[in-house]
């Protein structure tokens, strides 16, 4: 059993849990994930690690209440236990000195990107972060993100509102300025449609664009193949070859997007995804 030591509500329906897991905290690297099971009858669900404390032996992750398991997690607090907690899974994000790095963040990515930003900062990168959220209320981790980013662009708009406030607009501006202020790398941890759009936008400029994919997984150790995708003509598993991939090499985005919804149960579909998808073009 793994004890929960802290529960924070970051925004409506957005929570951060800290879990006592010294073995995982010891080895965690930016961009990796954990798989947890809430109780004996629970499902295996992956979450990107958003922070860890090696001394205290804790691992943090941020989640949004969507399905049965995340709703259940939202009710847990200090003193409660998770039946299973395994990780750190997946390959760590690639970190180096690139120069000017633009990151695209939305949803859980606002928090899960923090370890990557921190590592990039240590390598002396200049970071421009574009944050997308449906409204001000649903922005979180602002303090940390402000501290770690040299420039912060907020893309906060609701459906039907002015589109200049979308993340793609902000990215377009940056890319339009590419000749004067070069963008050396784009890293996206946001909705899959935004990652797809961003990859297409940077392709003509040949700016390396890394996307953090989160297809449906079952075991998370390369056994089931549920999270497979086509990368440069080869079958790759997000759990062992990813979750970070070169957005220009990912093929079959349509299938990847559709696969995510295979197991979205009725209760999730009724809430209505906030996907503004490819209208963002």
């Amino acid at each position: 059993m793994f004890s929960i030591v802290k529960h924070q509500e970051l925004a409506p329906k957005v929570h951060r849990l800290s879990v006592q897991a010294p073995v995982i905290a010891e080895k965690a690297k930016p961009g990796q994930f954990v798989i947890l099971i809430t109780d004996d009858k629970g499902e295996r669900v992956p979450f990107t690690i958003s922070g860890w404390d090696r001394e205290a032996g804790t691992v943090d992750f941020v989640f949004i209440e969507v399905g049965a398991t995340t709703r259940k997690l939202a009710t847990l607090g200090p003193g409660d236990q998770l039946a299973h907690f395994v990780g750190p899974l997946g390959l760590p994000a690639k970190i180096d000195h690139y120069g000017h790095v633009v990151t695209l963040l939305s949803g859980y990515g606002l928090a899960a990107m923090v370890p990557i930003l921190r590592a990039l900062k240590e390598q002396d990168n200049r970071i421009t972060s574009i944050l997308q959220a449906p409204d001000q209320e649903r922005l979180f981790e602002m303090e940390t993100l402000t501290e770690l980013s040299d420039e912060l662009v907020l893309a906060v708009g609701t459906r039907g509102e002015h589109m200049t406030e979308s993340a793609t607009m902000a990215l377009r501006q940056l890319l339009g300025n590419h000749r004067r202020v070069p963008v050396d790398r784009v890293i996206a941890m946001c909705s899959i449609c935004l990652m797809r759009v961003a990859s297409e936008m940077t392709r003509p400029l040949a700016i390396k664009t890394l996307v953090h994919l989160t297809p449906v997984m079952v075991d998370g150790t390369g056994m089931c193949g549920a999270c497979r995708l086509s990368v440069k003509g080869a079958n790759r598993f997000a759990c062992v070859h990813g979750p970070e991939f070169d957005g220009h090499e990912v093929e079959g985005w349509d299938v990847l997007m559709a696969r995510r919804c295979t197991y979205a149960d009725e209760s999730i579909l009724q809430q209505g995804f906030q996907c503004r998808g490819c209208s963002q073009w």
Binding site: A68, V86, D219, T221, C224, R228, L229, N235, Y263
Partner: protein, 492 residues
């Protein structure tokens, strides 16, 4: 090989009686096909006491133990059957346990027809003793008695061993070494121990209560089982060797699913057999929503492949409510690697077989769900390296069949998590770990066995490799320099 107890000690003086040969091999009672199509309960319900006695009494107690030689773990088959003939089930159980820690599993999933029963003298008359069914009867009897029949344990050797993986091979090594006095820590990546016995083989063929019980038995021997621990991630192999462990046994199985590499393979509702069975068996999707993991299945299911895993996938599909389930295999019935018994069971349950067909593409319904399969007819040519006749496509014979669910069951290869983080561990091009007949790998103090070495075989052969490796490891641990090891810190 196993010196725990000398099985010869209980050998009876051979009487010069002339047994009357009884060729009436007793069938095991089974659930009717119409019933079992709708539930996940075990298909075969096992011998009753009377049936077991009747079957045991058919045994001729041959002097030459051909059946025992046919067993990959060399179980003293005539001895346990003799004990049964005497009505001493407890003794029969003890005899079994000297050579196998998993009799309830072996009795159910071993291919006895090509092992012990194939070598039975009565097989010449076409009616071998139902050794597997008797083994199962004894294991089930022991389970109904509550406690375990524990073997004699050697005193502590002070040596510590890591066993990586808790499938049949890992469980065998863990119990063999624990019995010989070594301290064993067993690591399992998943949240349940048992490996393929829990994620792969379905409940109706091997009830999970039996696996749980056999894992409990291994724990009773003092094995420290650590779930949710991935070697290659949480600890590298070198960390284990440089840390507290004197030797390591790798038995991580073959978990990486193979795909067809044809267009449309990543469409929705195309599963690997591993995903489909993991959802259904390990995560108990057939009990959704009581268990949180769902499995989606359509009306017309195609299972591609001809092995036991394909049969399991097809039979799970039937039970999950598919209207039509078809097995697509590129060779003919004669070349199918699946056990005949399982093929017959599947047929009784309404599974259809399409032989000499190979999928060439999966087609989309326009919303990225699979809707049909393009197949090409095959014909058999001369035998290939596996000894089976090689199938080649017949040009121009393509046809299209409608399916809304496809399960790809083409076999698996080993998970590279450990080999990719251990450069000095020699692996083949197929990703299997290179090991000699004792399971010794290219790396010092590391042994390996099971599907990780073979690339994919049976439960019992994995156990056999484990048995041999455990003997070699025991020898190494006994001859090695003595070191004083502080007791390991207690784990939660």
């Amino acid at each position: 090989m196993s010196e725990i107890k000398d099985p010869k000690a209980l050998e009876q003086p051979a009487k010069a009686k002339k047994p009357k040969i009884n060729l009436n091999r007793l069938e095991m009672p089974k659930q009717e096909p119409a019933d079992r199509r709708r539930n996940f309960n075990e298909v075969a319900t096992g011998y009753t006491y009377e049936m077991a006695m009747e079957e045991a009494h058919r045994c001729l107690q041959c002097k030459k133990r051909n059946c025992q030689d046919g067993c990959p773990v060399n179980i003293d088959i005539p001895d346990f059957i003799h004990a049964l003939q005497q009505g001493d089930i407890k003794e029969a159980s003890r005899v079994l346990k000297t050579k196998t820690s998993l009799p309830g599993v072996c009795g159910r999933v071993c291919p006895q027809e090509v092992q012990c029963e194939k070598h039975c003298t009565l097989n010449k008359k076409g009616a071998p003793i139902a050794i597997g069914r008797l083994e199962r009867f004894i294991a089930d009897w022991e389970r109904s008695q509550g406690g375990f029949t524990l073997p004699e344990m050697a005193p502590s050797s002070g040596k510590k061993v890591a066993v990586v993986g808790s499938g049949p091979s890992g469980l065998t090594v863990a119990s063999d070494l624990a019995i010989r006095g070594h301290q064993v820590v067993q690591f399992e990546a998943l949240h349940v121990a048992g490996g393929v016995l829990v994620y792969g083989i379905p409940e109706f063929r091997l009830p999970k209560a039996i696996v749980r019980r056999e894992v409990e038995y291994v724990k009773t021997l003092g094995v420290d089982l650590r779930l949710d621990t991935v070697i290659g991630i949480n600890y590298s192999l070198d960390e284990l060797l440089n840390g507290e462990f004197h030797a390591v046994y790798l038995a991580t199985g073959a978990g990486l699913p193979k795909f067809l590499n044809i267009p449309g393979e990543n469409l929705n509702m195309v599963y690997s057999a591993n995903e489909f069975l993991t959802r259904t068996n390990l995560m108990k999707a057939y009990l959704y929503p009581e268990y949180a993991t769902p499995v989606k299945i359509g009306k017309r299911v195609a299972v591609i492949g001809g092995g036991n895993v394909a049969m399991d996938s097809a039979r799970c599909s039937v039970r999950l409510g598919a209207q039509e389930v078809c097995v697509i295999y590129r060779r003919t019935r004669a070349e199918m690697p699946a056990r005949l018994e399982e093929v017959e069971n599947a047929e009784e349950e309404g599974v259809k077989f399409y032989f000499l067909c190979n999928p060439t593409a999966l087609l989309s319904d326009g919303r990225t769900n699979v809707s049909a399969m393009e197949l090409v007819r095959m014909r058999l040519t001369e035998p290939d390296e596996s000894g089976r006749r090689r199938p080649v496509p017949i040009p121009g014979s393509e046809t299209i069949m409608d399916f809304d669910t496809v399960v790809v069951s083409l076999g698996t290869s080993p998970n590279p998590l450990i080999s990719s983080t251990t450069p000095d561990l020699e692996v083949t091009r197929r990703g299997t770990v290179v090991a000699d007949e004792h399971g010794k790998t290219s790396k010092a103090r590391v042994w390996a066995g099971g599907d990780l070495v073979s690339g994919g075989a049976t439960v019992i052969s994995a156990m056999g490799e484990g048995r041999r490796a455990a003997a070699a490891m025991h020898e190494f641990l006994s001859n090695g320099r003595k070191k004083i090891i502080p007791p390991s810190p207690a784990t939660e």
